[in-house]
C-alpha cells in the first residue's frame, strides 16, 4: 500500500496509477514473518519495468520462499520525483509502501546502459547512500544483474554485488548467505567476502584495477580470496527451471500487456553485432509439453487473451510448428492468440503464419540489419535478399500491407554503397508488393525503413571496434535519405526513421567503459541527470560537460579501435565465450565471411564446457 501522505500529490502528476500498487497478483506478506526484504528495482518507469520478464520471474521465485519478501520499485517520472523531493517522501516499494531504507537488499536489473543514472537517482531518492563505501552495516546490500552486468565497470562504486548470467540460482544463494551472516552477526565486509566465493558473484570492491599511461588497463588484481575470473551462471535444464504461473497484473496500461512464455534461452545464430546472442549461449530449449503446460496455466491465471512466445529468435525453436499446433489446441477455443516476437526473415513460413494469424492484421517487422549482402555476411546475419523478398511476398499474399525493416548503420567494414543499399532494399520490397497478383485490394502498401546506430558491445566479435563518430553516422543517415529520393520511391509509401546518434554515442561510452567513468556517473547524478534514455531528459551537452570536468575523453571509449591483446575492462568476467573465438569471428567479419549457426556446425565458442543445450543436441 502506498504511503498515505502521497495521496495529496497523486492527482498532480501524470498517470498516478504508477505509484500506488494494489494490483491483482502482488504479494503481500507480514514484514515480521520474513528474514530478508528484497526491493526489486527497475531503473525506469512502471510501464517499462512491469513489461520486463526477468522481474516477473525473480519476483515470483523470491516470494515462493517463506523467509523472503520481494517487492517492486520503479523510477518515478520527473513530475512525481519533484513532488517526492519537495515533500520529503522517500522512494518506497509498491507492496508495503516502505522506504528503501527498510530493505536488506536493493536489487537493480541492468537492461540498458542509459538507465545507469536512474540507479543512482533511485538510491538517493530512497535515502540510501549512493556510494558503496558509505554503506557500512549489514543491510542495504545493493545488487545488480542483467545483460549490462557483463561490463559493470562504470558503476562499480555504487553496486556492492553483481550477478553474472542466469539469476534463478545465484540470487537465492546470496540471499541465503546473507540470512546466515545476519543470524551470526557477521559484518558487511565479511558477508561480501563470502559472497565473492559463490560462482557467478562479482564483488567489485575486491578487485584493484591499475592503468597504463595511455589510459588502458594494466591489471585487475583480486583481493581477499576473490576469484581471478568470475564465471557466469547457467541453468542447463530449462524444464526444471522455475517459471511463474502468474504475473502481477497492472491496473494501468503497460508497454507489453500480455502473457509471456519463455520458450528457450540463447540464440544459435551468432550475429556478430548482437551481445545477447553471445551472453546467453548455449541455446537451451524448454520441451513442448512443459511450454504447453506452463503457458496454459499462465493464461488461465492471468486472464490474458494474448501470449507472446518469447526468446531471442522464436522461429529457431526446433519444433516451432508442432509447438504452435499444440498450444492452439486450447488457445483457439479459449480465444487466446499466440504471437512470435523476433521472427527471422528466413523463419517466416505459411505454416507459422496459419498458427499465429490474429484478427489484428497489422504490420510485420523484419530486421535484415544491413542493406547489402556483403555487409550482411560480414555481420553474420545469414539472411539472403531472396529470402526477404519471398517472405514479403508470403506476407503480402497473406493480406499484410505494412512491412517494417530494421537496419543498423555504422557497422564494421561498412561503406557508403552498403548504406545506399538500404534504400534499394526498401524499393525492392515495395516492388514485390506490386508484383503480387492477389495483393490486398484497396490499401496502399507501406514500407518503413528504420536505421539505428551500431554500438559495439563487450563479448561480441566487434568488442574491439571503434564506433563511427556522430558526424559519420549523421552523414550516413543523410545518404540513405538521398538514396531514397534518387530511387524515386514515393515518399508516402516509404518512411525512413533514424535514431538519435547522441544517445548511441553515450551508450557506446558506457558499454565498454572502465572504472574511471564512475566519477562521471556520480557527477552526472549530482547534477540531477537521469532518464537518459528519454528524449525529455537526455542532453548530450550536459554529459560532455561532465566528462570535460572529470578529465574524461568519451571518444577513448566510443571511437577507439582496441588491439586484440589489450586488457579489456571486462576481461576478468567470464561468460563462457572464449576471446580466441571472438577474435576468429572478428577476422572472418573483415573477410566478409559468414559462420554457420550452432545447428549447422560448431565454431568452438567455448560453450561445450557447460555440457548441454544445443551443443549436445542430436542431429
Amino acid at each position: 500500500m502506498y504511503p498515505k501522505e502521497i495521496e495529496k500529490y497523486l492527482l498532480k502528476v501524470q498517470k498516478p496509477g504508477r505509484y500506488v500498487g494494489g494490483e491483482l497478483g502482488e504479494v503481500i506478506k507480514d514484514k515480521h514473518d520474513v528474514d530478508v526484504r528484497f526491493a526489486f528495482c527497475f531503473p525506469d518507469t512502471y510501464e517499462i519495468g512491469m513489461s520486463h520478464l526477468g522481474i516477473k520471474i525473480l519476483y515470483s521465485l523470491f516470494n515462493e520462499k517463506p523467509y523472503i519478501w520481494c517487492e517492486r520499485v520503479f523510477a518515478p517520472w520527473i513530475d512525481m520525483e519533484a513532488e517526492m523531493r519537495a515533500h520529503d517522501i522517500p522512494l518506497y516499494a509498491l507492496e508495503s509502501g516502505d522506504p528503501l531504507t527498510d530493505f536488506d537488499f536493493i536489487g537493480f536489473t541492468l537492461q540498458y546502459e542509459l538507465s545507469f543514472t536512474n540507479i543512482l537517482n533511485m538510491l538517493s531518492l530512497g535515502g540510501i547512500p549512493v556510494l558503496s563505501r558509505d554503506r557500512h552495516d549489514l543491510n542495504h546490500i545493493v545488487v545488480a544483474g542483467g545483460p549490462c552486468a557483463c561490463n559493470p565497470e562504470p558503476i562499480t562504486d555504487f553496486i556492492d554485488i553483481f550477478f553474472l548470467g542466469d539469476g534463478e540460482e545465484v540470487d537465492l544463494e546470496v540471499i541465503e548467505l546473507y540470512r546466515e551472516c545476519k543470524r551470526d552477526g557477521k559484518s558487511r565486509a565479511e558477508f561480501l567476502r563470502l559472497a565473492a566465493q559463490i560462482p557467478g558473484v562479482y564483488v567489485p570492491s575486491l578487485y584493484d584495477v591499475s592503468y597504463n599511461d595511455d589510459g588502458t588497463i594494466k591489471s585487475v588484481i583480486p583481493r581477499d580470496g576473490a576469484p581471478e575470473k568470475v564465471e557466469k551462471r547457467v541453468i542447463m535444464d530449462m524444464d526444471s527451471c522455475y517459471y511463474p504461473d502468474n504475473f502481477v497484473l497492472p491496473n494501468i496500461e503497460i508497454v507489453h500487456d500480455r502473457a509471456v512464455m519463455e520458450i528457450f534461452r540463447g540464440c544459435i545464430r551468432g550475429c556478430r553485432f548482437c551481445q545477447a546472442g553471445f551472453l546467453y549461449r548455449p541455446v537451451r530449449e524448454k520441451s513442448i509439453d512443459r511450454i504447453n503446460e506452463e503457458c496454459h496455466a499462465l493464461c488461465r491465471n492471468t486472464g490474458y487473451d494474448e501470449v507472446s512466445l518469447s526468446s531471442l529468435s522464436s522461429s529457431d525453436y526446433t519444433q516451432v510448428v508442432p509447438m504452435l499446433k499444440k498450444l492452439n489446441s486450447w488457445a483457439k477455443p479459449e480465444q487466446v492468440s499466440l504471437s512470435l516476437p523476433s521472427l527471422r526473415v528466413d523463419g517466416f513460413s505459411d505454416d507459422i503464419l496459419d498458427e499465429i494469424k490474429t484478427v489484428r492484421k497489422s504490420g510485420l517487422t523484419f530486421a535484415p540489419e544491413a542493406g547489402s549482402q556483403r555487409l550482411r555476411d560480414a555481420i553474420n546475419k545469414n539472411v539472403f535478399e531472396d529470402e526477404l523478398i519471398n517472405t514479403c511476398r508470403v506476407a503480402f499474399e497473406g493480406g499484410y500491407t505494412t512491412v517494417k525493416l530494421y537496419f543498423m548503420i555504422g557497422l564494421p567494414t561498412e561503406t557508403m554503397d552498403d548504406v545506399a543499399a538500404i534504400a534499394d532494399l526498401g524499393k525492392k520490397v515495395l516492388d514485390t508488393y506490386y508484383s503480387v497478383e492477389n495483393r490486398p485490394k484497396g490499401k496502399s502498401p507501406r514500407v518503413t525503413l528504420s536505421a539505428s546506430s551500431f554500438v559495439p558491445k563487450p563479448f561480441t566479435p566487434f568488442q574491439w571496434e571503434p564506433q563511427d563518430t556522430m558526424d559519420t553516422l549523421r552523414e550516413k543517415q543523410q545518404h540513405i535519405k538521398a538514396s531514397i529520393a534518387s530511387k524515386k520511391i514515393s515518399v508516402s509509401k516509404v518512411t525512413y526513421n533514424y535514431h538519435d546518434t547522441d544517445t548511441s554515442f553515450l551508450e557506446a561510452v558506457f558499454a565498454r567503459g572502465d572504472r574511471k567513468l564512475n566519477k562521471a556517473m556520480l557527477l552526472a547524478h549530482q547534477r540531477g541527470m537521469r532518464f537518459d534514455s528519454w528524449s525529455d531528459c537526455f542532453s548530450l551537452q550536459n554529459w560532455l560537460d561532465v566528462f570535460a570536468e572529470c578529465g574524461i575523453d568519451p571518444a577513448f571509449y566510443a571511437n577507439r579501435r582496441r588491439d586484440f591483446d589489450e586488457t579489456l575492462p571486462w576481461d576478468h568476467l567470464d561468460y563462457g565465450i572464449t576471446k580466441d573465438f571472438l577474435k576468429r569471428e572478428c577476422e572472418r567479419a573483415y573477410a566478409s565471411q559468414t559462420s554457420p549457426n550452432c545447428r549447422e556446425g560448431c565454431m568452438n565458442c567455448g560453450m561445450k564446457k557447460y555440457g548441454g543445450g544445443v551443443c549436445y543436441e542430436k542431429r
Partner: protein, 221 residues
C-alpha cells in the same frame, strides 16, 4: 442471452485507474473468471461490456456499474460477484449482479461526498476554510469556465447544484448532487476548483461518488 448489470465499488489504489484502464481491468477479469459473456462479432471480436457513467480518475465510488450479456439464459447471477471479485484487484469489489432496470440514458444526476482540506496545513485553518466554504456556496452566482466539445463556455454552477450540504467534524465534508449523464454532466471538481480560487489557497479534495439517480430521483438500478 440475458442482460446483466454488476454494481461495484472502486477505492484505494484503484481510484487511480482511469476509465479506459478500468475497461481493460474488467475485460481481463472476465477472461480470467471464464464468465461466458457475449463477444462482438465484427472484425475485431472482443468481450462486450459497457459502463453507464464513466468515473473520473482519482474518484472513489460506491455505486459504479457495468453491463454485459450472459450467453447462458439460466446463469446464476448471484454467483457472479464472487467469480469476478476473485479476478479483480482489491480496490474494486463487485457487490451484486442484477438484471438492468433502467437504461444508462435514464441517468440524470449523481451524488458525491467530497472531503476538503488545504494542500498545505499552514495555509489556512480548517475552521476558516469551513466558514469560507459556506460563504462560497451562499453566493448568488458561481461562474466557472466549463470546457465542452464546442469549446469553453461560462456557466453559473448555482443553477446546477441540485442538493448541497456541508459538515465539519474532523474533516470538512461537502455533500453534493449534480447533473450527470450523457447530455449534461457537471463534474464536482469544477466546483472545488472554483472554491480553491475563491479562497486563494491550494486545496486537496478526496471525492467519492455515492449515488447515481434517474430523472425520477430513483437510484439507478
Amino acid at each position: 442471452m440475458k442482460n446483466a448489470r454488476v454494481f461495484f465499488t472502486k477505492d484505494g489504489a484503484c481510484k487511480y485507474i482511469s476509465h479506459l484502464d478500468t475497461n481493460r481491468v474488467m475485460l481481463r477479469a472476465i477472461g480470467k473468471s471464464r464468465l461466458d459473456i457475449w463477444h462482438t462479432e465484427g472484425f475485431h471480436q472482443h468481450a462486450y461490456i459497457t459502463f453507464a457513467l464513466p468515473l473520473s480518475l482519482g474518484f472513489a465510488s460506491t455505486c459504479e456499474s457495468m453491463d454485459f450479456r450472459l450467453l447462458d439464459d439460466n446463469a446464476d447471477m448471484s454467483a457472479i460477484p464472487e467469480m469476478l471479485n476473485a479476478c479483480l484487484p482489491a480496490g474494486i469489489r463487485v457487490q451484486r449482479c442484477v438484471e438492468p432496470k433502467y437504461k444508462p440514458a435514464d441517468i440524470d444526476s449523481a451524488a458525491y461526498a467530497v472531503a476538503i482540506e488545504p494542500m498545505n496545513a499552514h495555509d489556512i485553518s480548517l475552521e476558516e476554510l469551513y466558514t469560507k466554504l459556506n460563504d462560497f456556496l451562499n453566493q448568488s452566482a458561481i461562474i466557472v469556465e466549463k470546457k465542452t466539445k464546442k469549446g469553453k463556455k461560462q456557466v453559473d454552477l448555482t443553477e446546477y447544484i441540485l442538493d448541497c450540504s456541508t459538515d465539519f467534524d474532523e474533516n470538512i465534508l461537502l455533500t453534493l448532487r449534480l447533473p450527470a449523464g450523457s447530455t449534461l454532466n457537471i463534474n464536482p471538481s469544477l466546483l472545488i476548483g472554483a472554491f480553491a480560487e475563491y479562497c486563494g489557497v491550494e486545496l486537496h479534495s478526496d471525492m467519492t461518488r455515492t449515488g447515481i439517480f434517474t430523472k425520477e430521483g430513483k437510484p439507478f438500478e
